[in-house]
């Protein structure tokens, strides 16, 4: 206790000696940040919640009329919206699974002693440094059935990636996998490098096979950090908009955020789109909560 008081006093005196008291720090940094958050995050959040119970249209000058839960009821009974959610779920599963497999696999390869390892790692990180719009346009050219390099390399003739409703979603997911696997790779590499070497040495002495070593040592120890990557990527994939919007306009690729955009900014159904945004928010929160609970269980093991 005494040590804690001393430390606190020391900090205070150090801050005071630099001319920054706690009160000043609070006034200069903490209060503006809180105000900023309230004005730009909390207030719009509450304001839009209010709108979600009205029939407000931003394009008209008519006042918002309270309609209770009508927007939520209609949205949850709209087969098109459920279809958008189903497409989003499919996209999230394919995209995140692909990123974990490719990202973790690449990390496993890079976790060995190979020449130019640093340069290779940096080069592999490049896709996630590009803007979504650029990646979308770039892959649109790659997928082109007439002169795209993908069909040329794979000998697929004029196979249609983006115009084929059955394939378009996978084409978008492949692009997302290409772009974001490096993120999973980076986190996995951090996890892999933290696995104590002596565990592998002990396993080698016990003549454990690679399969056993992977599933009993590597994966359990990397799992917590891999779960964090999965949580981030799931949330991002759930919100995906740019790639799907730029690459194709198939109904089979209309993820929920595209529907939300159209409802809010093309149809100007402001109240209804606020309700949809809340439904999406609740879903993301629910999924994230499930993941976090699972992550805690993994950590406890």
């Amino acid at each position: 206790m005494a040590t804690a008081v001393m430390t606190s006093l020391d900090t205070k005196s150090r801050a005071a000696s630099r001319g920054m008291s706690d009160i000043r720090i609070r006034n200069l940094f903490i209060i503006p940040t809180i105000l900023f958050l309230i004005v730009f995050n909390i207030f719009p959040l509450i304001y839009s919640l209010g709108y979600s119970f009205t029939d407000f249209r931003a394009s008209s000058n008519a006042a918002a009329r309270f309609v209770g839960l009508q927007n939520y009821r209609e949205l949850l009974n709209d087969p098109f919206i459920w279809s958008n959610f189903a497409i989003t779920a499919k996209y999230v599963i394919v995209s995140v699974t692909g990123q974990v497999i490719v990202g973790f696999g690449t990390a496993m390869l890079l976790n060995r002693d190979i020449p130019l390892k640093g340069l290779l790692t940096t080069l592999l990180l490049l896709p996630m440094m590009l803007s979504m719009a650029v990646v979308g346009l770039f892959w649109k050219l790659l997928y082109d059935p007439s002169f795209g390099i993908i069909n040329y390399t794979l000998g697929l003739g004029s196979f249609e990636w983006l115009s084929n409703p059955d394939v378009a979603l996978y084409a978008v997911a492949i692009t997302d996998i290409w772009m974001w696997s490096p993120f999973v790779m980076l986190l996995s590499l951090a996890g892999l490098s933290a696995v104590p070497k002596h565990l592998y040495e002990a396993a080698a002495i016990d003549r454990a096979g690679p399969f056993y070593t992977f599933f009993r040592i590597t994966l359990p120890l990397v799992a917590p950090i891999l779960m964090i990557a999965i949580i981030f990527r799931t949330m991002e994939a759930f919100k995906t908009f740019d790639l799907a919007y730029i690459l194709t306009s198939q109904p089979t690729t209309e993820v929920i955020s595209i529907r939300l955009y159209k409802m809010a900014f093309q149809e100007w159904q402001t109240g209804r789109s606020c309700a949809l945004a809340y439904i999406v928010l609740i879903m993301i929160l629910a999924i994230t909560n499930i993941y976090v609970k699972y992550l805690n269980k993994v950590k406890e093991r």
């Binding site: 931003a58 394009s59 008209s60 115009s163 306009s249 198939q250 109904p251």
Partner: protein, 436 residues
């Protein structure tokens, strides 16, 4: 001291007065980013030379145009004085009070007679037949067709076509002929395809494309007076038209499921297709050798007739409106007075803009100015448009949702797609209390 104060107040007053007057000497017109906006800027420069009023045409890409315009309207912003807005916006913008009522201006200048009737009906009047006007027809436009004259006039091709179909190969006069020609030239092994049509479903591309077929087949989207759609949007004529459009999609280049005006011009410039649908406003690029290596062998024709000889086309183009929140409404009105003058309209056409002035359109001078102006003139007197009600965007998205899977993927039947669309539109009109 008193003198100093009086002088100061007088000085501030003078500055304020000058400031206001200087502000009124400038106008900003908002439009989408395309060639006609550049032509309008050139025209506006001439207005500045004449009157000293500086007019700036501010543009944004087509994809953002609607969102950006309505965001500004909704905020009651005065950044723009005039807007060259899409014809479908007129219901939403007038009912919400974003546009200034130009009925008096219209009557005073007898614009119902001066401008081509269809342009007045679709760019300016809302509600339909109400004699209330919200914009001045500015950029007339409609969908037409370009084609490869060299492919059509090749003796070998002509002979082969006649042998196969029993009539001469020439620009199609009917949609049935167009289908035959598209099929004839569709040769994927030679990377040559029959036709390029609109398929993009993110705004009104696909819908406009299908409208060309529907209207020429004698069909309609509904009764604009009473919002009745049952038996109209899903009529037998419309089903046949949609089926033919789907058939034509089979003769397009690969990957043609998200194609609009850019791709459809590329179909001609890159030797992809024999015929290509596009707005007339995009044709200047096709007669320019710098942008089209095939410029010398590119021909044009108007939208062909349907099975019963009816010949209509989907309307493009826009009217120019004064924004209610503009602080320079009087000055904007003066600009419009100048814009509708015969000599200005003539000059507008010379610069490349598509005048809606009936007199200019009818003049041989205009019709012979480009290889496509005659087709444009013929088309502008038989155009029809989409719903212009405030909820047009919902109707547009519903139409896209229903017909796109059928046209591009052959899912379901044309009848099923149009029946479902009729149900969607009925529900939307009911929601907004239009069809009681």
């Amino acid at each position: 001291m008193r003198k100093t104060m009086t002088g100061l107040v007088a000085g501030v007053g003078l500055m304020w007065a000058c400031g206001t007057s200087a502000q009124a000497q400038e106008l900003t017109i908002f439009w989408a980013e395309w060639d006609p906006a550049n032509y309008l800027q050139e025209l506006a420069n001439e207005y500045e030379a004449e009157t000293g009023v500086k007019v700036t045409v501010e543009t944004t890409p087509w994809a953002d145009f609607q969102t950006k315009a309505f965001t500004e309207f909704n905020a009651k912003g005065s950044a723009y004085d005039l807007v060259v807005g899409d014809s479908q916006w007129i219901g939403a913008a007038s009912e919400a009070g974003h546009y200034v009522d130009l009925t008096e201006f219209f009557t005073k200048h007898n614009l119902t007679q001066v401008m081509a009737p269809a342009t007045v009906k679709y760019y300016s009047e809302y509600p339909a037949n109400s004699k209330k006007y919200w914009s001045i027809p500015a950029e007339g436009d409609a969908v037409g067709w370009s084609y490869r004259k060299d492919w059509f006039e090749d003796p070998k091709e002509m002979e082969a076509f006649k042998a196969k179909y029993g009539y001469d190969l020439a620009p199609p006069k009917t949609w049935a002929e167009m289908r035959d020609i598209a099929e004839f030239f569709h040769r994927p092994d030679q990377k040559r395809y029959g036709i390029a049509i609109y398929t993009d479903n993110s705004y009104d591309g696909l819908v406009m494309g299908v409208e060309n077929a529907i209207f020429s087949f004698g069909g309609e989207l509904g009764d604009y007076q009473n919002y009745k759609v049952d038996g109209i949007i899903n009529s037998e004529k419309n089903v046949k038209a949609l089926e033919l459009y789907r058939e034509l999609y089979g003769f397009t280049p690969p990957g043609w499921a998200k194609s609009f005006f850019v791709e459809n011009n590329q179909a001609i410039t890159e030797n992809l297709a024999a015929m290509s649908m596009n707005y007339f406003a995009f044709f200047p690029a096709l007669v320019n050798e710098a942008s089209n290596p095939n410029a010398k062998v590119t021909g044009f024709f108007a939208n062909p007739a349907g099975p019963n000889g009816e010949q209509f086309a989907a309307l493009g183009g826009q009217g120019i409106s004064i924004i209610s929140y503009s602080k320079n409404q009087e000055e904007a009105m003066k600009f419009l007075e100048w814009f509708i003058k015969d000599e200005t309209q003539k000059r507008w056409a010379e610069l490349g803009g598509y005048t809606a002035s009936a007199k200019v359109l009818e003049s041989p001078e205009f019709q012979n100015a480009t290889p496509y102006n005659k087709a444009f003139y013929e088309t502008m007197f038989k155009v029809k448009d989409f719903w212009a009600t405030p909820e047009y965007a919902e109707l547009l998205i519903q139409m896209n949702q229903r017909i796109y899977p059928f046209v591009t993927a052959g899912q379901g039947t044309a009848k099923e797609a149009l029946d479902a669309l009729a149900a969607d539109w009925n529900a939307t009109f009911k929601k907004y209390g239009r069809n009681k």
